[in-house]
Symmetry: D2
Subunit: 319 residues, 4 copies
């Protein structure tokens, strides 16, 4: 089987090229730039949608807005699409417009798009033509949160704090004041408090606007750690939440509920894993969720979804 | 005036030596090791409590437990004491025993000890013989939290999340697995969730056990950033909390309420400053508080307290 | 085929465990601690030389001195040995004693030991029972230097500067002042100038004491970059040295002579590759050589050597 | 006395603003942008050469080429000039043109310009109107090298290797691929081998083209470490070179010859100090020189020179 990667010069695109290089079944065709007019780069060719006809799956690693028309072209060519941009994540075009500042570029495709949080959408992903790959923060938050919500362990109407910290690769490969070494190293900051675009995605995925999502920029390259604070219903403590998480993820190859200690970024570095930890703290239940933002939070989950959609073994090419 | 520094080989002690080197009034006598039997180090002499009689103030930068008998000796010599250890922070000896694992080493001195969160205890510090210098995390949390609590802007009985992140200097100068570069760099973790010794200190300082304190280890050397989540009473938003913070700290030289953006660690690096930021986020009010953990969180606030107690200008020797 | 790893808790041992986990032929048996009395660690069992009889190859990742008796035990059990310690690198026991401060622990085995700089000892390694895996610095220096020396492009008797820089993982997993984050981050230093133990190994490998080796500690975890300065014979410039390097390494899967730019640590991160660059500079020829110190400089080259010695394809399990 | 700073938004300009903020005599007037058309920044005003008439000294922190006409304007206004750019460092306009790619912007001023390596040009600087502040690399190299050259301890005609390593602040505040955290952290590289613009400056300062200067980019923010390799004349060893360095710098407040160990970047962090170390290594003499590139390598030495030129105590405002 063959794959095309569009936007192969960004961090997610590079990571995906690396993963596909050792995939036993899915063969990458030539990696493409994200826009017809973007500068050439070593080994990355011009965007050529005609080549979508040659492949089984197209991975879109472009900025939001640019992905939707490419998705349409790929679907028309008969390829499946895994879109790593935000274009098909929000089901409500009004929510997209509010968050991304313009009308949705392809509202007619939204119904068909499947939100690909793999462990929570396996069946839908398997039959999908168009998969919206989740954002990095929503992946970390939702994997840690959904079982407790589904198990109705969280007190109705209480705030759920999602204090999230990401390595700087989440800000992309483009040089900027944000990504300058002098700004990142030995520094730390909260940013876009109350206005980050991943908030509506988390709210949609959690099925509630209770989640208070605040992102921070870590002085490191890779990884996301989300610290979640849940107000439990009466009689519930961390042990109960742990049981629910363990039961939910027992057979999942890419999610581990740690019992030894809280997880850290190194535990999941360069892997498609999500590690979870749980503890009681002064009446709240604290769930810590870590992923590699470029793998489980982007390229890895995209490949996991492609494997599912193409009928391959879900973990092929993933560690 | 003269000062003695005990425990001058640790990070707080080193920082204090650096600050005193340029202090216009307070002259450091020779820096001492923290224990009579600890190894010698460059320029740091043996512990010699007899020399306490020569000085106006003794700074104790020893581990908890070791400080209390030294404080007694210094007080008996007629010196004022600023204790950077935890020995006199908790007013309740039972709370000390629960947190620090042994009976309090000098319960008779607890009543006289003043908890030196300078901006909130200026009058008491000015007249004190024995000052308990606050912990690094409690300093960051309480400076951001107290005005909102005192202004009764926080809904009674709701959890107050204090998600805190510290540079590795907080773990001390001693080599350990925790402080190994290979464990710190490009990593991040929550630790001691629900069981950190600064939690009872924060509860005491805030006057409520509502505060849910969770510490994390940042891949950097200096600095603490605390992200506080408050449930406001009806009708209150971030603007109101900002006004209260600005009113409370308008004349404080070492606390700044930023209006341009959220503060980051670089803003306060190597200074005795605390910078605060406020924003609304999905029904919660987010207060971000940053300090340099070794300065405002340790040596700087200790010097600020010593200045106050000795009747000097509060900011002498501090930036 | 089966492998034993002794000293699996150190960085080289951990790296080797990681590589063997995906090796298609060579199966790791249980990883062992380096000494019978060393503390237990997660998933790492007691040292049990009786189990050497079960395996085809034993990897020794112990400190020098500890490896030699284990090598003898393994050889007696019929296993091949790849020793990552320094015990069999120096052919002259007097040189060992001078560098390592004690008599050689097994001088009778020295003759049989093959110095396993794979690309320069392939034939010998293929037939060896006991392979001395080269040190990390010597690997980087010798891969860049040997072709120019063999091609007689270096002026006889002139100094060859080998200014080398290593990430802190070269200092080992044990906590120490050297490896404390506060000492490593945002710092840089030369160390052991004129007295590092890898100097005699480089001299032996280069066949000359002309090489002036000076190591430095980088503020990063992995990687070695060696900057070599050669005085060329009359008429020779960087272009000639480049041609010789390219000719020598054209068919080598793990050595690349870059023509686009000087190599950096990221080029070889987590791989068994050595990248080389060449340029003229004010009469000297500068050769830059980079490796991942834990892979090509330790575990990776050890596996490359084991593959050769066991008659397997040389690159199995290596990237 | 009053000072103007032009180019106050770059790293050197920011550093100089910080130093002047606590200078007891020299008062900064308003900091200016480097070009009339450059974007405004917090607290940094428009370039206004008319204000040069108000000040005693003008610090030029602009890019090369932009400084020369500003220097002329300042001199015409009667101010002294310390130029931190490269415009007046090379005495030979042809060398400038070769290195900087265009004709010299003010060749008539070259004769009057003094090359301000403070410890080696004190007398000239004291009487100068126009001071060319040395480059960061040349400062580190020449302070370590000149005494041995002047003492004729180096074998005539032999190469002097200057293997230099700099923190990323040397690449400036502008975002670029070079300064992106993802390119800097956990990485290391040689760059501009044989073609860096500081090479002719070093050759001029050393009075010989023997010096083989190769720069490298460190994964840290501040600091330069230069490792110098000297071929001694017969009978000379590191002890002799050390004696010469100590004799030369005994009374210098900003240069220290360490006898305890080799210096590292932390030794001089945020100071105007240069620390030197010396050792023998296999027939070569190794001199290690470290400075903070933004202080002794830029703003600090500029202030030292301004103090000298204005008849103030040389070390005012410097640590």
């Amino acid at each position: 089987m063959k794959a095309a990667i569009v936007g192969a010069t960004g961090y997610a695109g590079q990571e995906l090229c690396g993963l596909l290089a050792t995939h036993p079944v899915l063969e990458p065709t030539f990696p493409m730039r994200g826009r017809a007019d973007s500068p050439a780069a070593d080994g990355v060719g011009a965007l050529d949608t005609a080549r979508f006809a040659e492949v089984d799956v197209v991975f879109l690693c472009t900025p939001h807005g640019a992905a939707a028309p490419l998705a349409r072209a790929a679907l028309d060519s008969g390829a499946k699409v895994v879109d790593l941009s935000a274009d098909f994540r929000l089901k409500d075009p009004a929510a997209y417009e509010a968050a991304y500042g313009g009308p949705h570029p392809a509202p007619d495709l939204l119904d068909a798009a499947v939100y690909g949080l793999s462990e929570h959408a396996r069946g839908q992903v398997a039959g999908a033509q168009l998969i919206a790959n989740p954002g990095c923060y929503p992946t970390a938050v939702l994997l840690g949160l959904l079982p407790a919500l589904e198990g109705q362990l969280v007190e109705h109407g209480t705030p759920i704090i999602a204090d999230c910290k990401s390595g700087v690769s989440g800000a992309g490969v483009a040089p900027s004041l944000t990504t300058h070494y002098g700004n990142v190293a030995e520094n730390f900051a909260a940013y876009k408090v109350g206005e980050h675009r991943h908030a509506p995605e988390i709210h949609q995925g959690a099925g509630t606007e209770q989640v208070v999502f605040v992102p921070h920029l870590l002085p490191c390259f890779r990884g996301i750690l989300a610290t979640l604070y849940l107000t439990p219903i009466a009689g519930v403590n961390a042990g109960h939440v742990r049981e629910v998480l363990e039961a939910r993820y027992r057979d999942e190859p890419f999610v581990t509920v740690r019992s030894d200690r809280m997880p850290n970024l190194h535990d999941v570095d360069l892997t498609n894993q999500c590690h979870l930890g749980v503890a009681d703290a002064y009446g709240q239940i604290v769930v810590v969720s870590v992923i590699d933002n470029l793998v489980k939070g982007a390229a890895g989950q995209a490949l996991q979804n492609a494997n599912l959609a193409l009928g391959l073994e879900e973990g092929l090419g993933l560690a």
